[in-house]
Symmetry: C2
C-alpha cells in the first residue's frame, strides 16, 4: 500500500508539535489547504479581504470575536468567518483547531505584525 | 446576537436527518461547500474529473476503495481523493462523514445512476 493512501489522523498530527499560533498544513485539496493549529491566549484583530475562513474546533474551546458579537465553539463545532469581517480568536485553555482556506492565506490577514507566520507543511 | 454568529454543531446537524447517501450542506466557504452525510453499505465506483474531494470521518468507520488499495478511516481521520482517481466508499456500520469540495460537485461524479442526488441545504 503506497504512502498516499494512509489517511491523515488529526490527533496524530496535533501530537507532533507544541508551538502555539503556528498553522501546520496537513492536506491539500485543489488550491485549498487543510491546516491544524494550537491556540491559547488571544490573537490579533484582522481581516481577510479576499477569502472566507473556516475554523473547526477539535479540542478545547474557542471564542471568535467579531465586532459586536462573540462566537463560542466547542469541539465538533465550526464557523465560517466571512471575508472582510474583522475577527480575533481567543482561547482560555489550549485549543486545537482545523482550518480550511485557500493556500497562501496569511494568518494575520491585513493586520501583519509579529504573529504573522506562514503555514508549515506537516505530512 | 444575530443568527449568523451561531456556530455549526456537527452532531446537531447529523441528528436532524436519517437518510443514507444524501449529502447535506451545512456551511459555505467561498465557492466551496461543507457537507455532512450518513453512509452504510457500498456506494458506486466513480471519478470526479475536475476536483479533489475531502472526506473526514465524524463517527463510525469508512473504507474508501481505490483501484488496488483501500483507505480505512476512523473518526478524526481524513483523506483527500485526488481528481481523476476512481473510488468507492463503503461502511459496514452507519458512518457519519464531513465532505469538503466545490459547490455543485455531483456525488456520483462521472458514474451517474440511481444514487445521484444533489446536496440539500441543512442550516
Amino acid at each position: 500500500m503506497s504512502e498516499s493512501v494512509v489517511p491523515v489522523n488529526l490527533a496524530d498530527r496535533l501530537s507532533r508539535f507544541s508551538d502555539l499560533w503556528s498553522q501546520k498544513t496537513v492536506a491539500v485539496l485543489n488550491d485549498y489547504e487543510v491546516k491544524v493549529a494550537k491556540l491559547k491566549g488571544e490573537f490579533v484583530w484582522h481581516t481577510h479581504e479576499d477569502t472566507d475562513e473556516l475554523i473547526l474546533v477539535v479540542s478545547g474551546r474557542l471564542t471568535i470575536r467579531l465586532r459586536g458579537a462573540d462566537v463560542v465553539l466547542e469541539p465538533g463545532e465550526l464557523f465560517v468567518v466571512p471575508r472582510r469581517v474583522e475577527h480575533c480568536t481567543a482561547a482560555d485553555e489550549e485549543t486545537a483547531i482545523l482550518l480550511f482556506e485557500p493556500a497562501g492565506t496569511i494568518n494575520t490577514g491585513d493586520a501583519g505584525g509579529s504573529m504573522t507566520k506562514a503555514a508549515e507543511v506537516l505530512v
